[in-house]
Subunit: 199 residues, 2 copies
Amino acid sequence: MPALKPTDYKGRIAWLGVNVDRKDTLCSVPVPEMELTLAGCAGESHAGLTRPSCSRVVGLYPRGTEVRNTRQLSIMSAEELARIAAKMGIEAVDPAWLGLSMVVEGIPDFTLIPPSSRLQVGDGATLTVDMENRPCVLPGPVINRHFPDKGKLFKPAAKNLRGVTAWVERAGLLRVGDRIILHIPDQPVWPHLARARRQ
Amino acid sequence: MPALKPTDYKGRIAWLGVNVDRKDTLCSVPVPEMELTLAGCAGESHAGLTRPSCSRVVGLYPRGTEVRNTRQLSIMSAEELARIAAKMGIEAVDPAWLGLSMVVEGIPDFTLIPPSSRLQVGDGATLTVDMENRPCVLPGPVINRHFPDKGKLFKPAAKNLRGVTAWVERAGLLRVGDRIILHIPDQPVWPHLARARRQ
């Protein structure tokens, strides 16, 4: 029996976006709703039941290995976007610049919600969180176009604030404004975690 | 960028088993090797890219909802099987009685390894851990056939020792004796975890 537990941590969808061609631009285009299948968002550049592994997981796989796709969606929180902007000294970071799929609001310290948590949306569509998404330098150029010379500040400012990657466990429709309930794995922390992270 | 980190926690495959028809019996049949596709182990009763949701996840889904299958494999550790047997006052718990797919040895407190950890096996086959698998009463009757009246002791003895459920991230071959490397999500524990678990 899985140890999933619904929590009182509830949020709502503040923004949705799709990235149609990530070779062309990292940026997403805002949309009011998003239809999800088990392969992700049709037409989105990260969709697919599987994906060729990328440089991010070379510790596990030679580049291009077919693996199950755990990076269908990229999700951040409105509160953490605001914290990043404040640390960078700019008014706001537009989620479209970061190629995001979704911005949630109302769930504290969103980036660190437990791996394998479920985010269940209003009509039943459910996303499984893979884990924290680590910031990279790629959004730098687009940030520079809006705030000259600020792009290089993004990566350090976004440490532990860059949200999570996730995949579709149950298909359904997402709409801006929909309620989200966080379900977490209800299990003790592995006693060796701190040591393993130091290795 | 995902926060997966290889660790020095290494183990080996001590046992492999398949359950061909779980309606007929919970028990698995030991096998020397197991070919995995992204749908799991072909012919195994838990295989499939998707599954109809069961009573275990009624907190998320009406029973029978099509969801992505995170329960392709059920894995325990030899050390925790021995601890369960000791708590029950019997010589050993045969992994076949529990319908297991795999027994690993060498990874301490195996049941509690972090959700979304990866277990990478010798030739590259890789399993993603969903989370702790909670014990139930179903193995009771088969245990009773070998150790009369001991079956009811299994569920309490197996608390936090029942291993994990997992699914195939990368296809490949598992063989008894293969080395396993544990990769963990390298991220801080969510600050609200203890409160959310108490809710």
